[in-house]
Symmetry: C3
Subunit: 333 residues, 3 copies
């Protein structure tokens, strides 16, 4: 009878994750710039322990009991917010949700004063999303709590990149020493210019020994991203050829209005990731998308719902990845 | 000292509800169409056990600890949502609220992709309200979780009908074998055409052996509802005569704009359930309303606040009824 | 290892707060009009016990487990709502949030019917904010639950005044018998006319033996507030001279539109609380603000962020003060 089981003690959870809790040596998760390969691999081990929790009948541990996590979403994102909240509650934390629209910010209060106010109520970690790059970094100056970047401008979206890579490791027998990334090739296709997901993924895949190919219309493909193991191309065929993973990025329709960019139809004709294109990829190639999808624009429905797709698995992995982030920052330090 | 009491163990709760947990043989609660009389009566017994929990000092049991219930209200309804959330939390479940307005749906994502996304975060049950009939049924194709219909279009509102009937059973010595429904008469007065509450109630009352009279303006009284033990009339006097329960339905003012229907004043003159009308009913007749009320339109304030009214009792019973639904679907299967 | 600690038992918490739980003899917290000096001092002792909880690693006690607290904010206030919710959750209560905008109130349902509906779901306390004075009082007629006023019109904001005075007591060695208020002087500067914070503070400071000076433009300084130990002045210099505490009130820009009042610039030139003004105050003078601030209007940034400022401490104290309110009303009766 499932419901007579009690929540496993925290000691039990720690025993499972015992050797891995040093994964995040830092107080904050702002970006992945100074993470080493070993840190990524250790972090994935911690995530494994959290994924085990989510497979139990009672998907809850007391690791963060008595801790309060505040979500500060200055930019809207239901799916990311839900995922962080689920991860917090699965570890028995209390969650405080702060939506910018309904607050004193609209009465002219500064972000700083808003943070100081919430902070005075004793918060252990803030999950911050903002349309401007650097806001999460700035907040660290004003609070002693941990800051977790849930996406800032075009800059960084570290938990998305961590869950993308963790999903790849699941698929490619990632339990060897290198996590399965060495010598692999990933193609990221779409609006690279505006994508924090692309920037965070470049760091993690190259650090782990994979090659990254960025692909999209010239206007959306910034040359400064080119570096060791990162190449740029306007040809999807070239990008996808032999790739072990292809990630399609959301094409934001509002950006097409300018006139310099192709129309949605032109875009989908030249850059859509679909069954035909994917034939050029490696036999085991997986297909990823950070969501939400524009079906039949940047990705065909056939492919999104097909066997190669790990898109739902990405969302599922978001919960243990974020649990591991909270645990490492707030407990395992 | 109340606060030193601990939450009773789940075993204790199960002992109380032991014989009844088979009440819902199904995985979902979409409608009541295939429920048998015995199932209704068993379900009311389970509800009794839950109602006992809500009479304790500490109104909380651990039955759904570690389970996550998501409310998906595509149509707004504060009272129904609060009731489901209260029922979930009283059993220690985590609640995730998804409001359609603030989501990726507004970025063009389909309901299916939205569901799959939330579902990937591991949800045990969805409570769904939608303006279109059949949406809850459709969702069952895309998830392994339980779907609970919280009202879909004109089709069905099963928990409302269950709480209506449970309230009647409380009043009419419903502890006999038949639940006290045999040979009783209930009148439902108002906009029958658009009412999912009426449709769900027809099923439950007739299955339990009561006679149902539907009453309202001709335009709002669909003939196809006429069947064994269900009669239609335009006369409130005829409907109410000898009735053991009279249920007034909300008259939605926006429907009156068309011109074919009477004005609000004409409606209230001909169809209002009030003290004068209720004199024709059975001596023990109770007065019900699913809320929210338009006082002095479909029901007089005098009657709504009077001795016969069980309107608040209906709302109160909503919590143990929904607790019993969660318990039966998620634990007692 | 912090996370292996368990939540301290309720008995332990009660032992700490044992002698003080009679602090609130009343069922509701509507205003502070009938509170005695001894009640204020006892309440501060209870708050001390709650403040100790918030200093622990695990900031959570089970005192209100199984209790449900509903927030009814008919007027928006993110900071006050968050503070009450934090206080409720720190004592393990369930929280139901009811925002007026998204409810049946917009379908024409009365506040009374809304309250009765929520109340039928079994709520232990309501935290109510409303733009009209007296609404919290009115609600006490319709429910058996406790009503806690979180600000009504210009009338009262008792928890804000309690946390203001508690903060003062912390600073002024308030552990003597009088709480440190006897013979002290507080200046409240700004829009006194529209301020419920000022009205509640007048009661508490005078009851505790302090002198209150109210200061602001003539139009915003209602003469009927003058009484024993309460004086009015248009001169900030006169108000601040020798004061032990200066509280600046938010100057609401929308009120300046009428033409009878000074412009924002004129206001800040004559009434801004700033470093120059504060030189006239007592050497130990503290600076308070109920938030949110208009920096450089009613208060200079220099002063708000300076050594004398206890503005963040006020927000921090809001949580234990509200914990003490819940505890006294719901447990210690």
């Amino acid at each position: 009878m499932t419901s007579t089981q009690s929540i496993p003690s925290n000691i039990e959870v720690q025993a499972e994750a015992q050797t891995e809790v040093q994964a995040l040596k830092h107080k904050h998760l702002l970006d992945l710039q100074d993470w080493t390969k070993d840190e990524f691999l250790q972090f994935f081990n911690t995530t494994d322990a959290m994924a085990d929790v989510m497979k139990r009948t009672i998907k809850k541990v007391p690791a963060l009991q008595g801790k309060t996590i505040a979500t500060l979403f200055f930019e809207n994102s239901t799916r990311t917010k839900l995922s962080f909240e689920r991860a917090a509650r699965a570890q028995s934390a209390d969650v405080v949700s702060f939506a910018a629209g309904s607050s004193s910010l609209s009465k002219g209060e500064s972000i700083k004063d808003t943070l100081l106010t919430i902070d005075a109520m004793q918060v252990d970690a803030y999950v911050v999303r903002h349309v401007s790059s650097g806001v999460p970094h700035q907040l660290t100056r004003w609070t002693d709590a941990s800051i977790i970047n849930a996406g800032d401008g075009r800059r960084s979206h570290p938990t998305q990149a961590l869950l993308d890579a963790y999903t790849f490791r699941q698929e490619f027998n990632g339990f060897d020493d290198s996590g399965g990334f060495e010598g692999k090739k990933i193609a990221i296709v779409g609006d690279i210019l505006h994508s924090r997901v692309a920037r965070s993924n470049i760091k993690i895949w190259t650090e782990l020994g994979a090659k990254v190919v960025l692909c999209g219309p010239r206007m959306l493909l910034p040359e400064e991203l080119e570096r060791k193991n990162v190449t740029l191309t306007n040809s999807v065929a070239e990008a996808v050829e032999g790739a072990h993973a292809v990630m399609a990025l959301r094409m934001q329709q509002e950006r097409m209005a300018g006139g310099l960019l192709p129309s949605l139809q032109e875009y989908s004709e030249r850059y859509q990731v679909n069954d035909e294109m994917i034939k050029l990829a490696h036999d085991d190639c997986i297909v990823m998308h950070p969501g939400p999808m524009n079906r039949e624009v940047e990705i065909s429905s056939e492919l999104a719902d097909g066997e190669r797709s790990v898109i739902e698995q990405q969302v599922a992995n978001g919960v243990p990845v974020r649990m591991a982030v909270f645990y490492s920052l707030l407990v395992g330090k």
